[in-house]
Amino acid sequence: MNVSNETLPTAADTGAVPKSASYYGRPIVKPHVWKPYIAWYFWIGGAAGAASVECVCARMRGADALATVEKRAALAGVLVAPVLLIADLGVPSRFINMLRVFKLTSPMNLGSWILTAFGGAIGASTFAELLGWKRTSRALEVVAAGLGPALTVYTAVLVADTATPVWHEAGDTLPFVFAASGVASAGAVGVAFAPSQQNGSARRLMIGGAIGLLAAGAAMEKRLGPLLGEPYRTGTGGSFRATSGALSAAGIVVGLLGHKNRTASRLAATCVAAACVLERFAVSAAGKQSAQDPKYTIEPQRARLNARRDLDLESSG
């Protein structure tokens, strides 16, 4: 005996009832709770790691000035990194608990050990250098360079090892994005601060890295597919990423055209570095966006489930 219900709005229309198949559009997984410190850390740590590699390469070529710049960059990085990390902690006094255990299952724990070892190596190397123990210092640079790539890419594993859809689903490509970003940044540092006669490799790194960043980013988006790619195209994540791409491109162009000009080079370096920073912010923001809208969690999982069920049906004949 309901009074002509068909023509009337139902509670679903008015918002009283969960829309579609999610719970009031509420997130299913929690977005990360990291403050911008962490995006900065990702960039700085990544750059420091790459810089240590460039440092050794430069050293091997005898480009000591460049090596020194890269080493200082690495050192600066490892000095700032913990500060950023600590600033983000809920209980900063307990930073040391990162080294309470050694957990293979925790990329963050491994990262802490890597950072510690890397920082130790760079720090000790610098110290040895001050003491004039050149060989020790050089050896320690190599140790650091051994750890540097890990420092650069572990953060990609760190974020991919979560339930945040755009992170986890991009787990295979994300390390390349981070590596490219590290390389480009290390290059940019070299371009900006090393004497121009020594920074050819840095320039190549910077431009190569920036190209790599664009390529890896595109690959990542392709891999994520139309739905999961959305957070990189829309909202804050989209803006960051678009800006980052534009800056990369600008850095590449200016870097190529203006390689004779110190100011142009520095401009290019700034562009690339900024592109790298923004890429990290894009990853962070897109991660948040993908966690906040439950469709990014539900739809891929549903598709997976359905695929599995189809498979089951097939196998059961």
Partner: protein
């Protein structure tokens, strides 16, 4: 029950325990802290447990009140109750909050006629003032008989409201006193 966690020194460092014990991945025993190892429920450390009944609704669920240092530290269902079997609804479950709420009154508040703010009053004075008011109002509004001379023995100048949240013994004393005073307008939630 739990892992023995060494209280101090290097051997208490989980990293060391991890490599020397069974928990190679530090996912369990090795990572336990001393605080965790000493964990005990409040219910176990209470000084006493007192049997009670939920004060909210008429289902009459059994409650156990855990007291530590003369404070109620936990209230939960009494599994012995044949009615509730240890269970409590949200209100019953919130009973500890009722006893510890910072907005609970513990001092008499007094508002004088036409006053604009609460004042403090000590309990003795308040009791004396209330007794005076009762006596005076009763005197002033006493009805010995009705218009046609039948006894009434009462005052219609005083009324009372409330009782369903109170104990039987309390309702009894209230009714007894009011009736003796001739106060008939005595009411409680039964009207609601």
């Amino acid at each position: 029950m739990r892992e023995e966690t060494p209280a101090g020194g290097v051997r208490s460092w989980p990293l060391v325990r991890q490599f020397t014990g069974r928990d190679k991945h530090a996912l369990g025993a090795a990572a336990l802290s001393a605080t965790t190892a000493a964990l005990e429920p409040r219910t176990a450390t209470a000084d006493r447990v007192v049997k009670s009944i939920c004060p909210y609704c008429a289902v009459g669920c059994g409650q156990k009140i855990y007291v530590k240092d003369e404070q109620v530290v936990q209230v939960e269902g009494d599994p012995d109750s044949p009615i509730s079997r240890g269970r409590l609804c949200p209100k019953g479950s919130a009973t500890r909050g009722l006893s510890t709420s910072p907005s609970r009154l513990s001092k008499v508040r007094y508002r004088r006629p036409y006053g604009t703010a609460w004042e403090e009053l000590d309990l003795e004075t308040a009791m004396e003032m209330i007794a005076d008011r009762v006596v005076a109002t009763r005197e002033a509004t006493w009805e010995a008989t009705s218009n046609d001379g039948k006894p009434l023995n009462r005052t219609m100048g005083i009324a009372s409201l409330g009782g369903a949240t109170l104990d039987n013994e309390e309702n009894y004393l209230m009714k007894k006193l009011y009736t003796a005073l001739g106060v008939v307008q005595v009411e409680n939630q039964a009207r609601l």
